[in-house]
């Protein structure tokens, strides 16, 4: 296992994702002799996990079962221990594409936070690229280093514990892209520019408030960044449901029986067996939006240094 390479079987020391169903899952560190408690019972790592294939169904002590999944940055994002507010995969995906990241890219990031974006960046730039990530909170920096080691990606990332607004990224003229997720990104634009390669590169700043975006855009313009573009991306998830709608009784039942006078319902009850005229309902499949969705995460401001 590694976050940057698929493996077939579960090994000692791996991080695996236990999938309980219905978006309920959690990560486990696989270790000989360890047990994990789930609502379906106990999982014994030595016998239930190690040596098994990723994607297997594992039966727990109470007879319930779970699936064990190979870790990916996306699954990690959904399950990681939060030390800060994190970026989710929807924002991460557009950031990755708009920063034009690919294997071999050198990226600077600040702050590291909980490492949600870091894992996705490392995945994309591996095996020849590198991530330089700066976190001013010492404990968080330390925790991130530990996680990268556990996940087998430490060779692809350098964590620096300093203030990016004051001290920059600790590197200059080597980055293809810079990402900023800090409260005052405008104070780091100058450092970002010097971290980027002389021949140019891309920058992205994530801010929840429009006032922050405003100041960042001004700073970017001042430092000669071009193609400044601010956008926002929102995810809509749909539940797939079979819905039944009652047909109103307009007193047409008698007519309907003698001739197929009720035209609008006849194709549906011929086409699908779901339509039940006796009960007076028509059933259909629908993608229903969730009752409550994320309305705003942050504005993403992109620009080019050329």
């Amino acid at each position: 296992m590694s976050f940057v390479e698929y493996g077939d079987t579960i090994k000692d020391g791996d991080t695996a994702i236990v999938f309980l169903g219905h978006e309920s899952m959690f990560p486990v560190k696989v270790q000989h002799g360890t047990v994990t408690q789930t609502k379906y019972g106990v999982i014994r790592h030595s016998t239930d996990l190690i040596g098994k294939k990723y994607g297997s169904k594992v039966t727990c002590s109470k007879g319930g079962w779970v699936f064990i999944l190979h870790p990916t940055p996306e699954l990690w994002t959904m399950n990681l221990p939060h030390r800060t507010q994190i970026l989710y995969s929807t924002d991460i995906s557009i950031i990755t594409m708009m920063l034009e990241l690919k294997p071999g890219s050198i990226v600077c990031e600040s702050g590291t936070g909980s490492g949600s974006l870091s894992h996705a960046l490392i995945r994309t730039v591996a095996p020849t690229g590198h991530l330089y990530t700066v976190e001013f909170h010492q404990q968080r920096a330390e925790k991130a280093r530990e996680e990268f080691r556990e996940h087998g990606v430490e060779h692809l990332v350098t964590v620096t514990n300093q203030d990016v607004c004051k001290n920059g990224f600790g590197v200059s003229n080597i980055a293809d892209a810079v990402f900023l997720d800090i409260p005052s990104p405008w104070e780091a634009i100058g450092h970002a520019k010097s971290a980027l390669k002389a021949e140019g590169g891309r920058i992205c700043s994530f801010s929840p408030c429009i006032e922050q975006v405003q100041r960042t855009c001004l700073a970017m313009e001042e430092y000669g960044f071009t193609e400044i573009n601010t956008l926002e991306i929102l995810l809509r998830v749909y539940n797939v449901r079979t819905i039944g709608l009652q047909i109103p009784d307009l007193g047409k039942a008698a007519e309907d029986n003698s001739s197929s006078g009720f035209d609008s319902s006849s194709p549906s009850h011929q086409g699908s067996p779901c339509a039940n005229l006796q009960q007076g309902t028509v059933q259909f499949k629908s993608g229903v939006p969730l009752r409550e969705v994320v309305g705003h995460t942050g504005y993403l401001t992109f620009a080019t240094k050329s």
Binding site: V4, E5, Y6, F19, E23, K53, Y54, G55, S56, K57, F67, I68, L69, H70, T72, E74, S89, T90, S93, I94, T96, M97, M98, E100, K102, P103, G104, A120, R123, T124, A126, P127, E199, G200, I210, V213, Q214, L218, G224, T226, E227, N229, T230, L231, E232, I233, L234, L235, V237, Y238, N239, V240, R241, T242, K285, S286, G287, Y299, T301, S306
Partner: protein
């Protein structure tokens, strides 16, 4: 070579040797390189009105006539000067607010100062361009949706991916960019051969194509049932000839684009963007010319060369079939004009357990059906039907607001993760077992309802 872009024509010769991102101004026929930063033409009069209560639209505020402007243009006067003239001859300009003045200048600049920027091709540029210029060719796959696909599919170096697309090769190119030449891709194609018009715009180096395989969709069933042989291929001579022609053209095109990218990186892979509009495009006429040249070359090719290619093609096909037979692909990406359900039900067979798959569809309804069928089949978890909304913003001092919403038009995604299929379930391909399962999956959904 002459290229037409946004009603302007020019030669790219002068652009060679400059770095990507250089801005050029178009003169009569050639390119000349202006300064990166044009010093702002500070309007000598900084006076401006506060509101528009006295501005009347009488159609006579511009003192220069249509013919005057045309005369200025014909004289070959710099666009910048024309804009200046227009401002000076506008009677209402001084009464406009400062913001309105800004807007006026910007609008005129867009029209009269033709500047183009040449940038390096990337998924970002190409997908934005295709969505703006040729949305029909990529099934209206918006660029943020493509970005989601790449992330949800965990596309990275070293993967063995299966890609089925009818998006002019844009999705394939995006996957290739993310894999950086590491790992392998098997492209499933309908008809005579894979379409890779957009793929060639990326200007990938040749080694990227070494592990790119293709396999005809029409042979999937025989491969799954184990009746696939290479002998079945030449049995259909007509189709084979067609395949030949197309693949020849494509590989030829690829080769020329390699040569050109090596020698003069600015020419072939180059994209022109119009910074005033922030809209990018790649010139299509240029491609056409090149295509004609290829055709001629193709005709000159002798028969033996064709035979060698045919043999090589067959060899590659056997390789692709062998890769698929291992049934251990690291992911599946589908973005096509076809109904996704049969594609997914068949192609998922080739994917290893605990791997992500993503299906794109322009419409939601086929994905609803796909969702239901996958639930019946089993072997998948974490199914998610989603859509993204993208909102662009104008950010200017005291003038920040959303630009435009793009909802609905970006298409829908169905994604999930494969798991080991239950032995009992996998054998029950008979309809009876499916009927047995159907109510249970429905019951599941009913249980979902309250939450």
């Amino acid at each position: 070579r002459k290229i037409i872009f946004e009603k302007q024509w020019f030669y790219l010769d002068n652009a060679i040797g400059h770095i990507y991102g250089t801005t050029f101004e178009v003169t009569s026929g050639g390119n000349l390189q202006p300064k990166q930063e044009v010093e702002e033409t500070t309007t000598e009069t900084k006076e401006a009105g506060t509101d528009n209560r006295n501005i009347v639209d009488d159609g006579k505020s511009q003192k220069l006539t249509h013919d005057d402007i045309k005369a200025l243009k014909d004289k070959g006067i710099k666009g910048q000067e024309i804009v200046q003239q227009l401002i000076e001859n506008s009677t209402t300009f001084r009464d406009k607010t400062e913001f309105a003045q800004d807007k006026y200048i910007k609008k005129k600049k867009k029209k009269y100062e033709a500047v183009i920027t040449i940038v390096k091709p990337s998924t970002r540029i190409l997908s934005t361009m295709y969505y703006a210029r040729e949305p029909g060719k990529i099934n209206h796959l918006r660029y943020d949706t493509l970005a989601q696909m790449l992330t949800l599919g965990n596309i990275h170096a070293g993967n063995k991916m299966i890609v089925m697309e009818t998006c002019a090769g844009l999705v394939l190119g995006a996957v290739m960019e993310r894999m950086g030449g590491y790992g392998s891709i098997i492209q499933m194609y309908p008809g005579g051969g894979p379409v890779r018009a957009a793929t060639s715009c990326f200007g990938f180096p040749k080694p990227f194509f070494d592990n790119l395989h293709e396999f005809p969709l029409s042979k999937v069933q025989s491969l799954l049932s184990g009746t696939f042989t290479t002998e079945t291929l030449p049995a259909d001579p007509e189709e084979n000839a067609l395949v030949e022609g197309e693949s020849n053209g494509l590989s030829e095109e690829k080769q020329t684009s390699f040569q050109e990218t090596e020698e003069e990186p600015a020419t072939e892979g180059a994209m022109e963007i119009n910074p005033t509009e922030e809209q990018d495009t790649m010139d299509i006429n240029a491609e056409d010319v090149e295509f004609k040249e290829n055709k001629e070359k193709e005709n000159k090719e002798n028969v033996r060369e064709k035979q060698i290619k045919q043999w090589e093609r067959r060899k590659k096909l056997i390789e692709a079939a062998a890769l698929l037979r291992e049934k251990n692909a690291d992911g599946l990406i589908v973005a096509s004009k076809f109904h996704p359900t049969p594609l997914l039900l068949s192609l998922l067979e080739f994917v290893a357990p605990s791997r992500p798959f993503v299906v794109y569809c322009q419409y939601k309804e086929p994905l609803l059906e796909c969702y239901t069928k996958l639930r019946e089949r089993g072997g998948v978890i974490n199914l998610k039907l989603s859509e993204t909304w993208l909102r662009n913003y104008q950010v200017l001092p005291d003038r920040s607001h959303p630009k435009l919403t793009m909802s609905g038009g970006g298409g829908y995604l169905l994604s999930g993760i494969t798991v080991v299929l239950d032995k009992g379930k996998s054998d029950s391909s008979n309809s009876e077992a499916l009927k047995m399962e159907e109510p249970s999956s429905k019951r599941c959904k009913l249980q979902d309802l309250p939450c």
